[in-house]
C-alpha cells in the first residue's frame, strides 16, 4: 500500500447472509482528501462506511486504515481507531436526552479528563465552527433538521479526528442548509487536514466540493475520477445517474417476474 493512502479496500466483498452487498471492491483513498462514494439507494455505499468504521467485517478481502487491517485489530485497538475518527450519521443521531452542549461534549467527556470549564470552551468553539454558538442549552427536539445535522457535525469533529465519515449528509435538507453543510464539510476538511469520505447521491453539490469520486452500483465500482473527469465521462451509467434518467444501465423498476397484465388478471397476457 502506498503511504499516501489512508484507507484502502483490497478485493472486499460483503454479504448480509445470502444477499451479496459488495462484490470484490478495490479502492484507495489518499490522506487528506475529500472523496465521495456515490450510487443509488441500496447500492452498498453505507455498507462501505460501516466497514471502514469497523462496525461490520468483510466476508472476503481486507479493509486497511492507515496501513492496518481492521479485521486483525483487537476490540481495544478497534476502539482506539474509532477515537481518531468522526462520523456524521444520515439523520444526525443526536442523543435525544442530552442538550446540544452535552451532545457535543459527549466524546470529549468520554475520552478525556479535561475540566468542565475547558470542555465548555471546546464545545463553544466547535459550535461556533458550525455557526450554532448560542444553541448550547437547546434540546435536539427543538432543532430543525439542518441545525441538528450541524450539531452532529460539531460532535463528530469534537476530538479533531484524522478521518471523517459522512453518511448522506445532504439528505432531506433545504437548499440553504444543504449549501451551508456542503461549505462546512469542505472548510473543515481544508482546515483540519482530515481524510474524509462522503457517501451521497447528491451528484451536483458533491462534485463542487470533493477531490475524487467513486460510483458504486450493485456492489461494484462502475466509474471513478476527479469531478472534471466525471463531468466529462462518456459512461452511460454516470450520465444516467448525473441527470436522473429513468432509462439506462440502471433499471428503475423492480424485477417483478410477471407482467402487469398477469398481475391484474387480464387474459391473453404474456410474460415480460
Amino acid at each position: 500500500m502506498s503511504a499516501d493512502h489512508f484507507i484502502e479496500f483490497r478485493n472486499v466483498s460483503f454479504a448480509y447472509g445470502e444477499r451479496p452487498i459488495l462484490n470484490n471492491i478495490s479502492l484507495a483513498i489518499p490522506r487528506g482528501k475529500l472523496v465521495a462514494i456515490m450510487g443509488g439507494s441500496g447500492s452498498g455505499k453505507t455498507t462501505m462506511l460501516r466497514l471502514i468504521s469497523g462496525q461490520i467485517r468483510p466476508s472476503a478481502g481486507q479493509v486497511l486504515v492507515d496501513g492496518r487491517d481492521l479485521a486483525s485489530m483487537s476490540h481495544a485497538e478497534l476502539f482506539e481507531h474509532r477515537r481518531r475518527m468522526g462520523m456524521l450519521f444520515q439523520f444526525g443521531a443526536l442523543f435525544t436526552d442530552l442538550s446540544v452542549e452535552d451532545n457535543v461534549a459527549f466524546p470529549i467527556r468520554e475520552h478525556t479528563r479535561l475540566p468542565d470549564s475547558m470542555i465548555h470552551d471546546l464545545v463553544i468553539m466547535k459550535l461556533s465552527a458550525v455557526g450554532l454558538r448560542g444553541t448550547q442549552r437547546l434540546m435536539p427536539a427543538e432543532l430543525s433538521g439542518g441545525m441538528a445535522r450541524r450539531v452532529a457535525l460539531a460532535r463528530a469533529i469534537a476530538l479533531d479526528p484524522q478521518l471523517m465519515l459522512y453518511d448522506e449528509p445532504f439528505t432531506g435538507l433545504d437548499p440553504i442548509s444543504l449549501g451551508v453543510i456542503a461549505h462546512l464539510i469542505k472548510k473543515l476538511n481544508d482546515a483540519l487536514g482530515t481524510t474524509a469520505i462522503m457517501v451521497t447521491h447528491d451528484v451536483h453539490k458533491s462534485l463542487d466540493i470533493v477531490d475524487y469520486v467513486y460510483f458504486v452500483s450493485n456492489g461494484e465500482i462502475v466509474a471513478d475520477g476527479t469531478p472534471e473527469e466525471i463531468r466529462a465521462s462518456p459512461s452511460p451509467w454516470v450520465h444516467q445517474f448525473m441527470w436522473g434518467e429513468a432509462d439506462g444501465p440502471v433499471h428503475f423498476a423492480y424485477p417483478a417476474g410477471s407482467s402487469l397484465q398477469q398481475d391484474l388478471g387480464l387474459k391473453g397476457s404474456q410474460h415480460d
Binding site: Q55, F79, R83, F89, F91, A93, F95, T96
Partner: protein, 261 residues
Amino acid sequence: MTELLLSPLRRLGHTTINAIWRLGFISRFLLAILRYSGQSLLRFNLTIREIYFAGVMSVIIVVVSGLFVGMVLGLQGYNTLSRFGSADALGALVALSLLRELGPVLAALLFSSRAGSAMTAEIGLMKATEQLDAMSVMAVNPIARVVAPRFWAGVISMPILAAMFNVMGIFGGYLIGVVMIGLDSGTFWSQMQNNVDLHYDVINGLIKSLCFGIAVTLIAVFEGYDATPTAAGVSAATTRTVVTSALVILAVDFVLTAFMF
C-alpha cells in the same frame, strides 16, 4: 398431505430453536453487562440518574397500589377471619400476605409495566435512530454506557419499591382493620409482631424482589437492545417486555416460594 403434516412440525421446530437461541443470547447479554459493569459503576452518577427515572418515578404508582391492596386485604381478611372468630389475627394475615407474596410480586409487575416498558422503548428507539451506533462509532461501548446503568438501577430499585409497597399495604390494612372496623390497635400490631419473622418472612421477601428486579430489568434492556429498529419493532419489543416479565415473575415466584417457605 405430507406437507400438511410437516408444516406444524417445522413451525414447532423453528419456534423451539428460536426460543433456545434467544435464551443463549440473553445469557451472553447478561455476561456482557456484568463484564462492563465495572466501568459503568465507576461512574455511579449514570446509575443514580437511571434510579431516578426507573425507581423514583415509580414510587407513586407503587405506593398508591400498595395502599389499595392493603385495604382490600384488610376488608377480605376481616370478613374471612371473623367467621372463625379470629379477627384479631388480621395484622398477621395482612403482613404475611404482603411480605411473602403480594409485595414482591405486585411491585415487580408494576415496575415492569411502568419502568421496564420505558427502558425497552428508550433503548429500542436509541437503536432505531442510530444513537447506539453513533455511540459505538465514538468508541463508547453502549452496553457500558446505556445498558449497564439501567440494569443496576432496576436491580437496586426493585427491593426498595417492594419494601415501600409492603409498608403502604400494612398501613392500608391498619386503616381498614383498626380505624374503620375498630379492631384493637395493640392486638393488630402485636399479632403482626408475634407472627412475622425478620429472616424467614422479611428477608426472604426482599430476596424475592431482588430476583424479580434482575429478571425484569434484564428482560427490559435485552428486548430494547434486540428490538427490530423500526416503529413496529420497538412497539413489539415493549409488549414482549411486559408479557414476558409477567410470566417470568410468576414462574420465578413459584420456584422461590417452593424453596423458601
